[in-house]
Each structure stands twice: as C-alpha cells, then as structure tokens.
C-alpha cells in the first residue's frame, strides 16, 4: 500500500487551511500567521501538488500596488522553486464588514459592484498564478430576516454577477472554469443556494452554463445531514464536478472543517471510491484546518493525515473491486431481463400487457447485510 503522497495524487490545500490561526466565536487566535511562502515550501515537503487561495489570503485587502507586486513575486518564486501549482483561486467576499449583508446579493448596488470588481481583480491574480478553476463561495449571501430580502431577487442578482464575470473571463481569454460552492448556513442564518444541488439547478439558467460547475464540500452537505456521495454523484452524472472540497464534519452542528477521514470513515470511503472509479481528475482539495489545540507542528500533522487517509481509502477502493465475496454478492443482487428502453407505442403496449408476480419479485434475496458487513470488515482491515 502506497501511503506517501506525491504530486500525481493531486492533493491541494488552501492558504487559509494550513494558515488557519484557530480563532472561533468564543476565543482568540492561538497560532501566529503563516507566511504564504513558507506554506508553499512546507506543502512541497509533505508531497502536496498545489496551493489555493482567496485573494486576501495572499494580498491584504489594503495592500498598495507595490506591496501586491512584491508579494506575488515572492510567492511565484516559491512556486517555481518547489514545483507547487495553483490549480484554483477564489475571492474573499465575506470577511470585510462591507459584505455584512451580502456581496453579489447585497441590497446596496455599490456593494454589489464592489464585489464584482474585487472578483475581477482576484481572477486576474489567480490566472496570473496559474489557476484554471475559480471558486465562488457566497458566505454572506443569505439572511436571518426573510422580511428584509426577496429570495427571488437574490437569485437574479447572483445570476447577474456570475453572467458578468463569465463574460469577463471569456473576454480576457482566461482558460478558467467556475465552480460554485454551497453551504446551508453559517455565518448567515440561511445561505441562498444551500446545497450543491441548488447550484445544479441554477447553472442551466446562466448565460454560459458550459463554463460553470460545482465545488461540493463534504462538511457543508453533512451539516444538513445529506448524503455527500449522492450529491457528488449527481454532479458527476451532470458533468459538473469541476472541483471538490474534502474534509470532515459531524452532522447538525457548526462548520467544523475537520481533518479528512477523522470522523466519517464509511461515507468517505464511498466518496473516494466514486471519485477514483469515475475518473475524476481534478484536484483533491482539503478544505479543513487543524484543531485549535494544535501548534504549528500539529498543523503539518493535520495536513499529512488528510492525505494519508485519502490514500488508505483509495487502496481499500481497489481492494473492494478485487474482493471475491463482495463481487459475488454484487453479482447476485443484480437482476436480469429486458431493459425498459426508449418509449414507443409498441413498447408501451407490450409493457401494458406484461404480467408480474409481485410476491415472487418481492421475495428476491438482497444480501445487503452480508455485503455491508464485508465492507465494514474491509474498512477495519480484517477482510
């Protein structure tokens, strides 16, 4: 079993993940800032392929043009020195108080315009550093007070911004795809487009649907207790899995962004299996952070752990496919017979005439308990 991460595994981390300083609603920072250049070197050292960022993870919101240039120059030098790539970039449209009631969906048209301007500049920065995927997470696009915002108007405003930015990217001849990231709540009481599927429904209504996909995040679907596997499967089936955020989370609570594989071993096994078997070839991005109890050394324990567990689960996915007992059950539970096929009057007439023995069909054995136990054995390493 190969458990040493290599660039070919396409593991990526955000500057904000390994750079997370451990502040939470009830307590202050516990770790010092992490210099982006050092982050790149450390990521290279542990075998990561890439690093992603929000504009202000790299360049402070108040930086002068000269500061921006120096920061970008030094960052690029670190990338060049290490071979670390920048596959994805995104915009911070949530930290500054200007976005307190939304960015693209703000009531104030000036805030909406500023958010689009900020995104254009952040896209320029991302593309300059090599990004091919641009993520949109609208952390403040939501409401606590539904009296104050028309949710239909919010959708229209969001569409206007995305359409504008698609055209900007096309006009700039950027080789860039957009990936929309959903979250049900936090920091807003409710966030618009709460699930990955909300964006799958929204994308076909855009002016350039072909360049827009989704960036599902495990923790975000898990917060609502929804099956992440099924959400990612729908995105894949629709050809819309443009990026993915891997982490862990307990359902029904605050956004935890835990180390990948630290809680949800079985669901994440099936996720890794799906990604690998479906040939997803984008980044495996870990959008998580170390526990607040960790120091700097612990941050890198955390990062190594994310990759290690992914590789273990990937190996188990291979073992699943090669497991005789499992494959036997899988073969048995699949029935045979003529497919429904496309509609025709003849097909419909034939179907209407067909007789079915409900009791016989109902009594067919489906050895799911046996199958599931074989999976548990496989996961626990006693197969």
């Amino acid at each position: 079993m190969k458990l040493t991460p290599a660039p070919a595994d396409k593991f990526t981390f955000g500057l904000w993940t390994v750079g997370n300083r451990g502040r939470d609603p009830f307590g202050d920072f516990v770790r010092p800032p992490l210099d982006p250049v050092r982050a790149v070197h450390c990521l290279a050292e542990i075998g990561a392929w890439g690093v992603n960022f929000h504009d202000n993870d790299l360049v402070p919101i108040d930086a002068t043009a000269a500061e921006r240039d120096r920061i970008v120059r030094e960052f690029r030098a670190a990338l060049d020195a290490t071979g670390v790539t920048v596959p994805m970039a995104t915009t911070n449209l949530f930290s500054d108080p200007v976005f307190k009631d939304g960015a693209f969906t703000s009531h104030d048209v000036r805030v909406r315009r500023y958010a689009v301007q900020k995104t254009m500049r952040a896209m320029d920065l991302g593309v300059e550093l090599g990004a091919r995927t641009y993520v949109f997470w609208g952390g403040r696009e939501g409401a606590e007070v539904d009296a104050g915002k028309d949710p239909i108007e919010a959708i229209k405003r969001f569409r206007d911004a995305i359409d504008f930015l698609c055209d900007y990217a096309r006009d700039q001849r950027y080789d860039l795809r957009f990936a929309l990231e959903a979250k049900p709540n936090e920091p807003r009481g409710d966030i618009y487009f709460p699930t990955t599927a909300s964006y799958l429904g929204f994308i076909p209504t855009l002016a350039h649907p072909e360049m827009v996909g989704v960036n599902p995040e495990f923790a975000h679907e898990q917060m609502a207790g929804l099956s992440f596997l099924h959400a990612v499967a729908q995105a894949l089936e629709a050809g819309k899995l443009f990026h993915i955020d891997l982490n862990d989370q307990k359902p029904g609570r605050f956004d935890q962004d835990l180390r990948f594989g630290s809680e949800s071993l079985k669901p994440l096994f099936f996720l890794v299996k799906l990604l690998e078997e479906q040939g997803y070839d984008g980044p495996r991005h870990f959008d998580a952070h170390a526990y607040r109890t960790e120091d700097d050394e612990g941050v890198w324990d955390f990062a190594r752990g994310c990759m290690r567990t992914y590789l273990i689960l990937k190996d188990k996915a291979r073992a699943f496919a090669a497991h005789d007992g499992i494959q036997t059950v899988l073969a048995e539970i699949r029935g045979d017979g003529d497919e429904l096929g496309p509609y025709s009057r003849q097909a419909a007439a034939a179907l209407e005439a067909e007789a079915f023995d409900r009791q016989a069909l109902a009594s067919r054995r489906l050895a799911y308990e046996r199958l599931d136990q074989l999976v548990i054995d496989l996961l626990l390493g006693v197969a």
Copy 2:
C-alpha cells in the same frame, strides 16, 4: 378577515391525509378506514376545492377490473355531486413489498418495468378523474447500503422511467404536467434526489424538461433543516413550481406531517406571502394528517385547521404589504445607484476604475432587528 374556506382558495387534501389511520412504527391503527366517497363529501362540506390520491388510495392493488370500475363510478358520482375536483394524482410505489428496494431504481428490471406499468395505469386513472398534475414521490428510491447501489446508475434509471412516462403522456395526449417530490430520508436511510433543488438540477437533463417541475413539501425540506422559503423561491424563479405540499414539521427528526401552521408560524407566513405575491395559482395541497390521538371528528378539526391558518397568514401577508412601519424600513434598506447591467468592455473598464469607500458602505444602517420585530408584532396580532 375572511376565514371561511371556499373552492376559490384552491385547498386540496389527499385521500391518504384525511384517511390516515394512525399507524406508526411502534403502534397499530387507531382509526377505521375512511371511505373515499365519504371523504369527498366531508371535504366539500368544509370548503375544500379538491381531492388527490395515490392509485391504491382509491383502487386496491388487488382489485379486479369490475371492482375498479365500480369504485371509480361511485367516486366520480361523489365528485359530481359535490363539485370537488381532482387536480392531482400520483402512484403508490412504496407500500407493497415488491418495491422494498426501489421502483424506478430497483436492481431488478422486472420491478422497474412493473413500476412503470403501474404508473401508466395510475396516470390513466388520474386523467380519467380530471387530474392535470401528476406527482412522483420515490419513497423507496434510495439505499441504506451504498455498496449495493451505484448512485449514478440510480439517476440514469430514474431518468429512463420519467422520459418513458413523459412520452406516454404525450402520446396519449394527456394534458398533464409532472411534479417531482423530494425527501431526504425515511423510509430509506438516504433517498436519491433528497431536496427540491436536486430535482431542479435533474429536470434540465430530461428529454422533455418543459413538462416536468417540482412538488416541494415543507416537512421534507424542514427535516434537513433547510429553508423551504428559499427552495420554493428557486423553483418559482425557474418556472418550475407545479404543485406544493403544505404541512408542518420539526427539523431533524422523523416525518411528522403535522397540521399546517401548527409549529412554524414565521416560516409559513413568509411561504404564504411568497405564494400569494408571486401569483402561484396551483392547488394549496395539505399533505398532513391528524395526530394519532384523534378520532374521526378530530380528523376534520385537523383539516379545518390547515385551511384556517393558511387564510390567517394570507391576511397577514396583505397587512404586511400595507404596514407603514414595515414599508418604511424596507424602503430605507434598499440602496440606490446604477445597476451592474450586462457585460461589455466599457462596463468592465468603468467598473475597474470605480473607487469604493469600504468603511462608508459598511456603516450603512440595516434596521433588520426593527423590521423583524414589526413582523413578530404582526404575527402575534399586536401590530
């Protein structure tokens, strides 16, 4: 305030709702069966506009052709006598053991074929009695054991069935639209297409997307703690709100199907406001049932209560629109200025050159606490 329901209010109930007999996983029936003919008469009496049914709510799964004809004849007579309509029909693809592992997504092609045949016959029945909307709720289309089912294959199988049935309806020249109804779990561990938005993402991939929309149910989104208001708004904005299931539910627990407005007064106020203001003109269908502690008389208390609370909330929506204090805050929170507008190089250049005063923008007052308290006052009747 008009609180007496009338057919113009378009209130509908399912036979399975007023006919619910109170069985649950831990206890037996507490109420006798409700004869469909009597149901129609009682619904007429309390001011309902329509009655909906699953095929087997009306015609038992084992009925002979003669029994079917007699039942339909008597039911139609009751409809004619009372003026009660049948706006919607649907198929029971979940009660019989034959569907224990799914209907359209079963591993057994014979079960899938039987499910399509059963739906064709149920569509015939529904259309015969006047239905214009056909609902699909795939209660068994899901899994407890993800090892046993490929979720991508499940989506494809579901699409095959819907496409076939769309063509069947078209070929029969049925004036019928399909409305897909989502639910996250129960009775399956996870149900495919867990939210309304899952279907909004699925519909554009169908062969006849124009004839397929959604049937959101309050309790089902609420089970996952998602905003029903926002889900319905997205459906409306996409032109896909073909039907709606109204009831009540506490989040994060089993499917309760409570009397409309019995728990979630504020969310349901905004829902009614949205439906009324957006001109939704379909049925207001109550998919709920009386507490298991009720007898027959209590069933009709329950039904009357659903309609009464809807009418109260509708009146409050009118009061909201006419409330000076509320409208003043709403006017204040909306900023003014030039819209973003469609993309052009000039627009982009202008935007890039624009200077924004973040602190000034951030300090703009948004009196949401005041606004929300005015809404609470309105709801509590002390405005």
Copy 3:
C-alpha cells in the same frame, strides 16, 4: 396589554450581549466596543432590571489592580445612578488561549488551578457588585478527540472544581447559588454535560448539592433539537431552576443567540407560560445579541424586542388561562377515577384484580387538534 418593560419584570442582559461586536468565524468586528458604564445607562433607559457580566467583560484580563478598582468604581456609580442591579456574574474560562483544551477539565493541573483561581476572583468581583447567582458555562470543557481525554476523568475534575468553589463561597459567607449551564457543542466538537439534564444528573453527586442548580439556555437545547420546555419543567420540578437564559435559535446549526421570540413563537409561548405559572421569580436573562448587520441603534432595537415579545407572550399566557374554549377542551381530556396512590399489598392486589376495557379506553376522545388550533389562533391574535 402592558408592553412597557419595568424593573419589576426582572429583565436582565449581559454586558457581552448588548456589547457583542459582531465578529464571527468568517468576519471581523462590525461594531465598536460598548463601554460598560454606557451599557448600564442604556439598559436603565429601556427598562431593564439588571446587568450581568463575565469578569473580563468588565475588567480586562490584563488589568492592573488600580485599573480594576477604577473600572469597578465607575461601574458601581452607574449602577447607583440608575438603580440597575447585578443579579448574576460568571467567569470567562474560554476566550484566552490558556483554556484552549479546557479549564476545570484541562489535562494540565496548572491550567485547572488557574481556572479555579480566576473563578474565585471573579466570584469576589460579582459578589462585590451584588450578584446572588453565579453561572458556570464550561465552553472549552470538551473534546474533538475522544482518544485524548477520558470522559470519566473529566467529570471528576469538574466535580473537584465545583466542590472547591462551593466551599470557597461558603467560607467567604457569600450569599451565592451556583447555576450550571449546558451546551452540546461549539466551540468544542462535543462539550461535556451537553444538556441541562446532564447537570441535573451531576448535581446530586456534589458535596453541596443544595447550593447548585442549573441555568438552562433555550438556544443550547434547541441546537440538539430537544424540547426546552420539558427540560425547564424537569429543572423546576427538581427545585433546580436557579437562572434562565432566554434567546432564540434554529435547531441543528451553529449557536445563533437570536433575539428572544424571533423564531420559535410557539415553544417560547409555552416557556413563558410555564415560568409565570410556576412562579419562577429569578431574572429573565436575555443571552442573545443583535444581528451582525446592525449598528449601535440596532442593538437597542434588539434589546427592546426581547422584552417586548416576552411581555406579549406573558399576556397571551394570561389569555390562555381565561379562554373558555381552551379550558373546556382541557377539562374534557382529563379523565377521572382513583389515583394509583402509594404501594401497599392491598393496593397491588386490588390493581391485579382490576379489569380494563382496552377498546373503550382507547376510544376516548382527545381533542388535541382542536386545542392546538385554539392556541394558534391565540398566538396569531385571532382568538
């Protein structure tokens, strides 16, 4: 209906509530610090009875003795000038990084000792300013990694601290009762003693159980989807409701601390009814804060709203008791007959010999739908 708050209503706010500056995990402060002296004056103006604080809400953790004395002197002067009381005080054992892995339950005995010392000093401060109730909320007493902490040892450590502090209060002849406040999670993955009932089970194991009770918080039970009404009822029945934290919250998500009555109108109606009818005479403490979108003016809108809704619901509780329709149903649903009474051989023999008609008993009418609709009408002001 009297809706103007007065000191006799015993409404209290924490310095940290009206002083909340709107920082959250994804964004910075949006409001400037609120001077405690100004807080007292504003609270007096809006009709609050009292103000509560964590030690460091009033006196910074790094203050010198001289600074402390000046702050306390000025604060007391504000109290004297306004008549505002300090009914409760508590310790901040969660903000400083020293408590990153717990205070009373830390693995490091020096941290545990420091936490007890800090609490002793904070008790001194609270008592000096008049507090009669001392609240313990162990925000960091929990774990993300169960491998790292023995939960049984955590209970023992927590007990040692509480027992020590009880003795300290007794030795100082402080007229002080302790109130333990539970929360299921956030900021820790899981917090020990996750519910009010956990403390009701813990208190009888203390050295001085008579001086320790609970401080239930609506949002905290609501996060786990539990009935706050039932939790408070159990605390009252056990004589342990020493304090209460009122606010609002949607279930199954991050800690929202919303304005009292902004979401959960029905549950909070029954809560107010219970408190008023059971003669609870402690503070009605609002542990909540204004939306992050608010400015200073909005903070006071928020505070006024909490009290206003409490008074409206209190009035509706009176109306419930006087409502003929409601009281008629309540009288009907109560059966009559001989109570079970205490055990004796004769009573047991009589009971064993008794014959019951299950069907007759089961068929008894319980008009809960009707009753609940009358409550909804009452809440909506259409009774």
Copy 4:
C-alpha cells in the same frame, strides 16, 4: 483475533429485533413472524448468550391463561435446551391503541392503572424466566401538543408509577433492577425524559434510587446528535449503567436501529473501549434489526454482523492500549503538578497567591491531530 461469539461475551438480542418484520410508516410487513422458540435456537447457534423480550413479544396481549402457560413452557424448554438466558425483560406500553396518549403519563387514570398492572404481570413473566434487569421505555410518554399536558405533572405521574413498581418488586422479593431508557422523539413529537441524562437527573428523586439505573441506547442519543460516549461515561461514573442498547444510527433522522457498527465506526470503537476498560459486566444487548430488504437468512447475517464488529472493536481497544505511538502521545499530553485537592483556607490562600504564566501554559503542545490519526490508522487496520 477471536471473532467467534461465545456466551462469555454476553451478547443478547431482543425477540423484537431478530423478529422484526420490516413494517415501516410507508410499507407493509416483508418477513413472516419469527417463532420465539426458533429464535432461541438460532440465537444459540450463532453464539448469543441471551434473549430479551417485551411481554407481548412472547405472549400476545389477548392470550388466555392457558395459552400463556403453553407459550412460556415451550419457551423455557428452548432456553433449557440451548442454555440461552433471559437477562432482561420489559413491557410493551406503546403498541396498543389504549396507550395512544401515554401509559404512566396518560391523562386517564384508568390507563395509568392498566399500564402499571400490565407491567406487574410482565415483571412476573420476566422474573419467572430469569430476568435480573427490567427495562422501561416509555415510547408514548410524550406530546405533540404542549397545551394538552403539563410536563411537570407528567414527571410526577411517571415517578408515582416507578415508585409503585419498585415497591412491588421489593415486596415480591424479586432480584431485579430497573433500567430507564430515554429517547428524544418518535413515535411522539417529543418524549418526556429525552436523554439518558434526563433519567440520571430523575433517579435521585425516586423513593428507591439505588435499584434504578439507566439503559442508554446508541441510536436514541445519536438522533439528537449527542455524544453517546459521554452519556455512557456519566452513567458509569454515577454507578448507574445497568444495561445498554447497542445499534447504529445516522444523526438527525428517524429511528433506524441499524446493525451495530454499520455507520459509526469511530464513536462505537470508543464506546466498546469504555465498556471493556471500565469493567462493565452486563449484557451487550443489540437493539437493532435487519434492513427491510432482507429475508430470513439476512436476519441472521445481521445478527452475526453485530457481534462480529463488537469483537473486532474490542480487539482494537486492546491494541490501542498496547500501541507505543498512541501511549507516547497520551503520556505527553498529561501535565504534572499538584492537584487542586480538597478545599481549606490554606489551600485557597495558596491558590490565590499563585502566579501563572498564561502564555507559557497556552503554548503547551497537545498532539491531538497526531493521536487521532494513529487511532484512524488503527481502526483502518494500517497501524
């Protein structure tokens, strides 16, 4: 690794678990009734130690005395023939419509009396067959309509019943302990005493607290998203873990009663570790059932799986204790220094005088990410 269950492992199943027939709110029975005698023989064959039952699992509610005697005689013969024990028994106070609004907490005193009578007879039956633990699960003791029931009165009624039954057991000289089982909701909207801790708070208020403990069930705490580990730890620490119900469940949804270890590998590992290390010597009772998709053969797959996973996790608990890497981290994270100790004036004075270096204490390394990854490795079998 020993993975063959033996009576010494004390695995038990309820008749209602292996006998579950797969009915749910949306579908009918899929499996035929399981004869109790056959259940005993099958359980013996797979290595179970004991079998538990509700009175009506064994003896139908309408059985004559002669039928009861015959059933008990045949059941006892099966026990004798196989060596299977009956460690626990309980009462069905939820299936029959007579209990539709509660048993011990019903408004109707005749229902309350009947429930106590039924429990006395069921205790007689249980004791006759060897039970030493008697479980109380009040499935119908709750409400959907809080207007209809005073929750304080419900507590008092429940106490009256338990006190009466304690005295009955004592008077009969039954060697029997009571174990109270909590559940937050389902089938009632809210159930009184929703968590294990609710009963830990209730027990000290009983007339005979020493004979009453708790029966925590994994699924029930998990439904509310609470840590089962911490709940069981509190019960153990209080000396109140009299029985335990093992199964599996996803949080925030209907009661699933899944095969032990099928979902929550990490939480259940820590649970097994706690039980084994704390010397819990009661039954390991599996309160779960096979998926509705299973036939009879699958039921026994299910039962074997429960025991197998328990034994695997027990083996991993041993490996945890013997794991050098894990034990090294555990040793490092424990600080040293003088314990707080009991209160005295001198101890308090010394503590008040003590100086603490907050920054130094805060900077102490706690390698929880490393530790947790070692546990994940251990669970996945790659340690």
